[in-house]
């Protein structure tokens, strides 16, 4: 292993993944061979199970939640002093939060906003990365070096510090600013990934063949190069989702989250629970556990996918 700087290390990790799309004939065989191994990998299966449960929950939760997460059926029981956080009772197995809202319903429905924040942030990050990466990868040369300078600068700042700075620059914290802050730190990751994958394909047989057949440049990029980069992008997206959910919680904790809590989100619930953390730690522990389990699920799945797609381990 050659020594390298922090940014280089982040770069290499990404590039290794990008390489996964290059050297093998694209399409069925790659996925099939990966799937064959993944099917028997318990780590992957656990991760997959957690992820599926989480996504299904996010979709159906409004219908299975016993109460409206924004309504406050137990508000009458809230006394700021004697009973700030109503405990469990019939119909409210986990009790309520400090505004008299059913905690179980908020946790269930919270999965939805958490997924939204994670997915939308990742999609934004992916979109930004797609633009930069495609530009760099497709045109190479001067465009490439300019774009990559920008990306390298972004990669050389600790991601949470960057997200914090962007969040702090918003006039008023909201779900949108939170998503943007998290999306921005993902842009360089996806950009580098796509660029690496595309540069690798530029000289690959199928692209050369297409070019020789006179296929137009944009068609080559969009029909041939981009689809082939999908594998590593999906792997990276899974890993990034986990980080996005954790970072969202961290930013909420620092006061950069969405101040409007009618639609619950785990990171926000965890951030807001600090006030009662001494006497009512369960308000923090439940959303924290949810975040940990889901982040773990995405990480386990992503790491095993990465290993499965890594050409080095496949040999």
């Amino acid at each position: 292993m050659t020594p390298m700087s922090y940014a280089d290390r982040r770069k290499e990790r990404i590039d290794a993944l990008a390489a996964g799309s290059v050297d093998e004939t694209p399409g069925v065989s790659l996925i099939a061979s990966a799937w064959r191994r993944l099917r028997r990998d318990p780590v992957f299966l656990i991760g997959l199970a957690i992820t599926v449960v989480f996504v299904v929950l996010a979709i159906i939760s409004p219908w299975i939640a016993p109460h409206d997460p924004a309504a406050a059926p137990l508000l009458d029981k809230v006394r700021p002093q004697s009973n700030p956080v109503p405990g469990p009772e019939a119909g409210f197995p986990l009790g309520a939060d400090d505004r008299g809202r059913d905690l179980l319903s908020r946790l269930l429905v919270g999965s939805r906003q958490t997924l939204v924040v994670g997915v939308v942030a990742t999609l934004f990050g992916l979109a930004g990365g797609l633009v930069l990466g495609t530009l760099a990868g497709a045109f190479a040369g001067r465009v490439d070096s300019v774009v990559m300078r920008i990306v390298d600068v972004m990669l050389s700042v600790p991601s949470l510090l960057l997200a914090f700075t962007i969040g702090a620059l918003a006039a008023r914290p909201s779900q949108t600013t939170l998503i943007i802050a998290i999306a921005v730190i993902q842009v360089p990751i996806f950009a580098r990934l796509l660029r690496g994958s595309m540069l690798g394909q530029r000289s690959s047989d199928h692209v050369l063949a297409a070019r020789a057949l006179g296929v137009k440049q944009h068609a080559i990029v969009f029909r041939h190069m981009l689809p082939n980069s999908l594998g590593p992008v999906i792997v990276q997206a899974t890993l990034v989702l986990a980080i996005a959910i954790i970072d969202a919680a961290a930013l909420s904790f620092l006061g950069l989250g969405n101040p409007d809590d009618r639609q619950p989100e785990w990171g926000q619930m965890l951030g807001r629970s600090q006030e009662f953390i001494y006497d009512y730690p369960h308000l923090a522990v439940y959303p924290a556990l949810c975040i940990i389990v889901v982040a773990l699920g995405f990480t386990l799945m992503g790491e095993s996918l990465r290993e499965a797609l890594d050409p080095k381990t496949r040999r």
């Binding site: 008023r172 001494y278 006497d279």
Partner: protein
Amino acid sequence: MKPVRKLASLAVVGALALATASCAESERGDGGEGGGDESTFTFGAAGAPEMFDPLYATDGETFRVTRQMFQGLLGIEPGSAEVIPELATEWTSNEDGTEWVFTLRDDVTFHDGEPFNADAVCANFERMFDQNEAGQVAAEYWGYVMGSFKNDPEGSLYKSCEATDEFEATVTINRSTSGFPTMLTLAALAMQSPKAMEEGNANDIAAQGEGFSFPDYAQNPVGTGPYQFVEYDQADGNVSLEAYDDYWGDAPASDKLTFRVIPDESTRRQELEAGSIDGYDLPNPADWPGLEESGNSVEVRDPFNIFYLGFNPEANPQLKDLKVRQAIYHALNREQLVQTQLPEGAEVATQFMPSTVSGYDSALEPYAYDPEQAKQLLEEAGATGMTLTFAYPTEVSRPYMPDPQQLYEALRTNLEDVGIKVDVKTASWNGGYLDNVTAGKYDAYLLGWTGDYDSAFNFIGTFFGNLKENDFGTEVMPWGKKLADDLQAADAIVDEDERATAFEDLNRQIMEEYLPGLPISHSPPALVVGPDVEGVVPSPLTAEEFSTVSVGGQ
């Protein structure tokens, strides 16, 4: 690998050499380890003090520290808002209340050994009056109570000070007001050593970027109080004070007083439970029972504040109709709000000031919760289904509003129940909310006030006494000017009883005829101290003196 080793060993040798060469001297006094048998009261502060010159201080964290080191001509009776003698033993005025003679204590010295006398008093007044451009803005409280500074003598309440005898100072003011001399109880107007101020260039304050840079004196304050300044350790956020041996009054119960900055609320509580601090201010009401359970005592102060819903008829002309404002008042279930949302000891407000202030009209009854009447009034005014842009602040907790969002949600539900459409607005307290309120951007908003001293004008005068600039937009109301003039007139009455009656009348008029905003409640702020702490006297003005506080029964 080899060069690394070389480098590493070089570094180690270098560090060792440096350490032995510069082996620093301990600056500890003779007390030796741990401080021996000295007793210390350690208080957890929520934020760093601005500096230690009370004239330029604006926040409670700073005043809490300066109050232990400085005293004013007039003091406040511990446990109440009542004015008592402090550095002045008595004071009298001429008939029109413009010339005040203060008889001073003759046994007082400043911490630097300088005598306290009439010359010192006048030096203080002149110093406060004579501020440079930055100082005029930074001396926030002087500007607030006195109006202006030396370069604008017309606008100033203060006129001159003369040492008529060694221990007799005569202060002349330009017009009579209920605020004088009560305002001399303000921590900001405390007496400081003229010599130390001169040596430390106390008036050399300058604007630096968005803040102020303070002169040397502000880090080396010299007063007359029971404690004197020792040091401010910025690296760890500790302020230490120690007893002043030649203090004129009773020696303080603890030898040392330490303030430790702990910005996080739940951490303050944990530190108290762990015993590394002996008390902190404004515990979260939710923590009160838990704190008491573990043996701490939560000292609840008498409420000296008002929480209100303000209107701005300029932003929403429908609010110009008294019936609409009354309808909104009747729609609010304040009884329930106080019971469910505010800590024990909170009260429903009947007017814009707490009952302890003279001029409070005890005959006023609270507006009843009556949604039916509210709907009817709205219909009469043709405002059924009106839309109200109603705002609350985030990222803040004030003594009168512990959790703004929670209070807001309760009020909003009340409004929606009578068919008012609420357009929810929010901004962070010092990130736009206050700007928007003063700029009149909201139809209705949540705000409040904690009294500075015992004066009716300090409450309703602040709210409605200035016609051009007030948050209630009274300028566009037909009665706005009359109210402002009446308030100023009442404030100028010299006789105390007469003045109190005038303010009582005004309070009634405000509530029955004008209703420029809706007073909601008064809440008691609390203070908590550890199990072995004794002698804390909670003050409604949050002006506790710690000189009577002892730890561990010493």
